[in-house]
Symmetry: C2
Subunit: 223 residues, 2 copies
Amino acid sequence: MDIEVLRRAPLFASLGDDVFAALTDELTEVDLSRGASVFREGDQGDQLYFIVSGKIKLGRSAPDGRENLLAILGPGELFGEMALFDPSPRTATATAVSETRLAGLRHENLRALIETRPEVSVQLLQALARRLRRTNESLADLVFSDVPGRVAKALLDLADRFGRPATDGILVAHELTQEELAQLVGASRETVNKALAEFVQRGWLRLEARAVVILDVQRLRQR
Amino acid sequence: MDIEVLRRAPLFASLGDDVFAALTDELTEVDLSRGASVFREGDQGDQLYFIVSGKIKLGRSAPDGRENLLAILGPGELFGEMALFDPSPRTATATAVSETRLAGLRHENLRALIETRPEVSVQLLQALARRLRRTNESLADLVFSDVPGRVAKALLDLADRFGRPATDGILVAHELTQEELAQLVGASRETVNKALAEFVQRGWLRLEARAVVILDVQRLRQR
DNA sequence: CGAGCGCTGTAACCCCGCCCACAGCAGCCA
DNA sequence: TGGCTGCTGTGGGCGGGGTTACAGCGCTCG
């Protein structure tokens, strides 16, 4: 397994090479193809996962089958940590958005690490605090912004995290269908499609297969 | 200061009496009357707070002045902890909903405690994980439920945490105006008022000044 | 290599909930 | 004790966006 990504992850950055080496022995490798789930709502879980490569979507589904996405996560990020500190079953489903490789770490191994290394728990607290901030932000957006605004924000956020400079803008290979993008911003697929079409028409964006090229970051940010 | 509430708080429950006694010396007492703020969005903050008595609302405001509430917190709960692990300024404003007494703890004191007592950080992680779950839940509600449904859910939640049994139901002295309740569920004051009126008309609820009596928990839960 | 399915694009319809407007009404300060 | 201010109750208009219904269209897989 490619441990370079993990070595650079903030959670482990402070560890000595020896401690880190011991830790990697405790990691379980998991490979997933698009659409495969790591865990589902209601499962009992005692592992947290690091994303080595690929992307994971965290989502919940309503009784009637509708879904909404809480986050899209990429390489270096971790998820599934809540179950370690709160005994209740998983409250979200984690699904691969593309070919994805994960490293899983079990509850007891993390606990042991925390006992000896308080700075690891500080890193975890930071990670959770940041996630809580992002989630609060999304909440506010749902209340205050209209769908085009939320789509713009989501694209800019994805661009920040997955964007690569291209000849005429920023290529964001988000690998999401418009349906998934809609679930992410809490809107219907049709409305998101219209918002995207409008952005294209204004020359702010170009659409590609499961990707967009952002042509005018400024204007998009105004929304 | 009445330290009984703090002694029972999960964060300190594991500490020996001597450690706890030393800790209370480091706490700062803060008293607030309704409407007074502990801190505001954008402030630099290096304290977390425990609620000894009263209630605190955490909210954010949009540029145009509109507000939305992230949470209502009561005795024994803590807030303002995110700033300790994420250096950015406060992202929410904390305001007293009623006469409120807080105990503040500074960054460095908590850090010192974490160094020697890993179980304290586990408690903090639990608190954050639970908050994140609640927030995710609210997110899903905003997407999936209509306003009456969200109002019902908010009332039941408040009942769980602040409700007291009364002769004909559960008295929930939430101390919120309908405006604040509306901000909590992400809706307009008028729509919330109508939802409440409908519940009253159906005999599920009785309204009192900044309080409600829930008469039929079952029916309310169906929504 | 053709059929079918999953994804995208678009249009019509309609309803929930926001905005606006105003009418009690209670507490509070002068 | 009378106004003033902040909160609650209610009605009407209208617009954003969900829902439904199809029509292209490209990929995959048989």
